[in-house]
Symmetry: C2
């Protein structure tokens, strides 16, 4: 594996150890003279934040950081950021962090050009066509986890804190102009986050691959993404300092997010409301329900899973694949079931009712209704 | 397979029977009021040209056609087109045809905004950074063959007729804004073109997959692209009216061209000079040399080809894959060797010397030098 490689789809991606140093050249190409760095609150005092600061200062780019980004970013975070952005004469965004910082960075670059409120751009119908496309600021995305793949996505999630719901805000121009995937930034990711975000990447690939939409490019990307997870996640978990494993997990993450425009399914349809009600970790929740969801969909996906098992060099077809997921979760110390992360019987009906209207439910191979979803949730308890 | 699907990478793609009808909506989205239609000379009186005209007229888009596009477009074609473009108040390009029309359409949209000559943007080093990026016209690409994949490429090939060389002109903004892949437009493609262009798509996928670069997304796309060729090319060849097979070949073509940014190799390094010297069909030439090139690279790619054979459900590993290529070519009535398309011993040294400096040579798994390339050419005679 050569040290730094350039990929040009779905956007411009630099990947490899040391690629962070290319930030000054990228700013120059994008004609960004004064970027606003948007980062997670909890990264403020992290060593990798210092790496970024040093790189920025050495590039003679002015250092301006906005770090009021909550783990689930809100309207308030957006408004605070917009004030700084509008008053500071900034001409670009460097979004640095996990999914939250990347999403908020993308949202800031987009919203600074809009007159309508952010909720007018919720990902429903053709809302995105209402946007003003002039003066949207270019975003450079630098992920520090390997899971969500927000760095290659055209949407951002924002919590409407009045109504206590997460909303997806979409516009094609929210896709970052450039992405820097430097595995050095992920070497010290804690074990549980390595596991949870890695399983999120796997879930994206797996659901995209199983979803019945017609998108052979997404299928191919998902297949190889799963292979990368199979060959690297356990190693990245056990030996976090393995740069190659970390880089391959960064690849798998952005491949999952590229592939899932084909569709997701019940893993996400369950995980979203469970996360909303119990504030559980998204990727970890995906991992917990994965095996049961695949079994639930069996009659619709058995051929696909058998081919996938061959590709992943897993023996015993469908059964072998289910066993593989079980072993993988065990080796990553993923909790065995939803009970272990605090979900209980009481709210299962509420969760089932939320799951069947989740936007990802329609991508599931087998149709979800209230009863079969409730049964599926009980199986996962 | 649903009738029309949207894909959003590497660009915006509408694929499916009847997707041609979406042209008016796409023009509206791109704010194109007066497009120039750029098409191949030999499509002028073709039935599919009439389909396009009817669709345009029904969309109340003004009908303006530039069809002075030679099979290997030249500077002259470009200059003629630029005059029309500059004097006509056009605000976008609809490139309709095979690789030549698509390339020239993309070049026109790009060059209309430039002050430098086209040769200043030859794909060497950072030449593309010299371009003026304002006022480049948006291109909508509509392929009528399934092979080159120019519809998803960021380059165009132009023949420098003074120096008798083909040059690749590159700029990221030459990537069409939208692509329409309507299989109806390819139903009457003659058998020999179906075979040759289909094998071009296969060669793009195969060389990208074998090339040693690090690009797992390209690998996944190439794998599934080859599967689509395996499952559809013979059918499209035998039964040209099979819409599903035709659509899958359109997918395979654009997947090949998406994947080959990872790299190509000796198939193309040989085929380019052979085409330049003997004016042979590019895809057909690729098909003729394919088997020998794979065998030439054997020691470097045996593991990859064995995995590929498993994925394509071909028995007997490397040997089985070579046999598969041989059978495929036979079933498509591809000439058996280079002699059958007029290549003879006399110019082999010239071709070898051109091949080793072809830009694609560096992507070959095994290093090409004059002697081993000459021997390889002799094997293909």
């Amino acid at each position: 594996m050569s040290s730094i490689t350039s990929w040009n789809f779905p956007t411009n991606i630099k990947i490899g150890s040391g690629s962070l140093n290319q930030i000054s050249g990228i700013c120059k190409d994008l004609k960004i003279l004064k970027p606003l760095i948007v980062t997670d609150k909890n990264l403020q005092n992290n060593a990798i934040m210092q790496d970024l600061k040093n790189t920025i200062v050495n590039s003679s780019i002015p250092l301006n950081i906005f770090s009021k980004v909550d783990p689930n970013p809100t309207e308030k975070n957006l408004d605070d950021g917009l004030k700084i952005l509008k008053n500071g004469g900034f001409d670009g965004i460097i979004a640095f962090g996990g999914g939250s910082a990347l999403d908020l960075g993308k949202l800031l670059g987009f919203m600074v050009a809009q007159k309508l409120t952010v909720w007018e751009f919720e990902d429903v119908g053709d809302n995105w066509k209402k946007a003003n496309t002039n003066n949207i600021l270019p975003t450079i995305a630098i992920p520090t986890t390997a899971g969500t793949g927000s760095e290659v996505g055209r949407a951002g999630v924002l919590t409407d804190h009045l109504n206590k719901v997460k909303k997806v805000i979409f516009h094609p121009k929210m896709l970052p102009k450039n992405v820097i995937c430097d595995p050095n930034l992920t070497l010290n990711l804690p074990k549980n986050l390595t596991a949870g975000t890695g399983m999120d990447a796997f879930a994206h690939c797996l659901e995209a691959y199983c979803s019945p939409g017609h998108h052979p490019m997404a299928d191919g990307i998902a297949l190889v993404g799963m292979k990368l997870v199979k060959e690297n996640l356990i190693e990245a978990y056990i030996n976090g300092q393995n740069i190659e494993a970390r880089q391959n997990m960064l690849s798998a993450a952005l491949m999952g997010a590229t592939a899932f425009q084909k569709g997701l399914g019940a893993i996400h349809a369950l995980s979203h409301p469970i996360g909303a009600v119990y504030n559980t970790h998204h990727g970890t929740t995906n991992a917990i329900v994965m095996k049961k969801v695949i079994d639930f969909n069996k009659s619709h996906i058995i051929d696909k899973i058998e081919k996938l098992a061959i590709f992943l060099e897993i023996e015993n077809g469908f059964k072998g694949f289910i066993d593989y997921i079980e072993d993988l979760c065990k080796n990553l110390n993923i909790p065995k079931n939803l009970s272990e992360i605090g979900v209980n019987e009481d709210k299962l009906e509420l969760i089932a009712s939320m799951a069947i209207i989740d936007p990802t439910a329609s991508g599931n191979p087998k149709e979800l209704d209230f009863n079969n979803t409730l049964n599926l949730l009980k199986e996962c308890l």
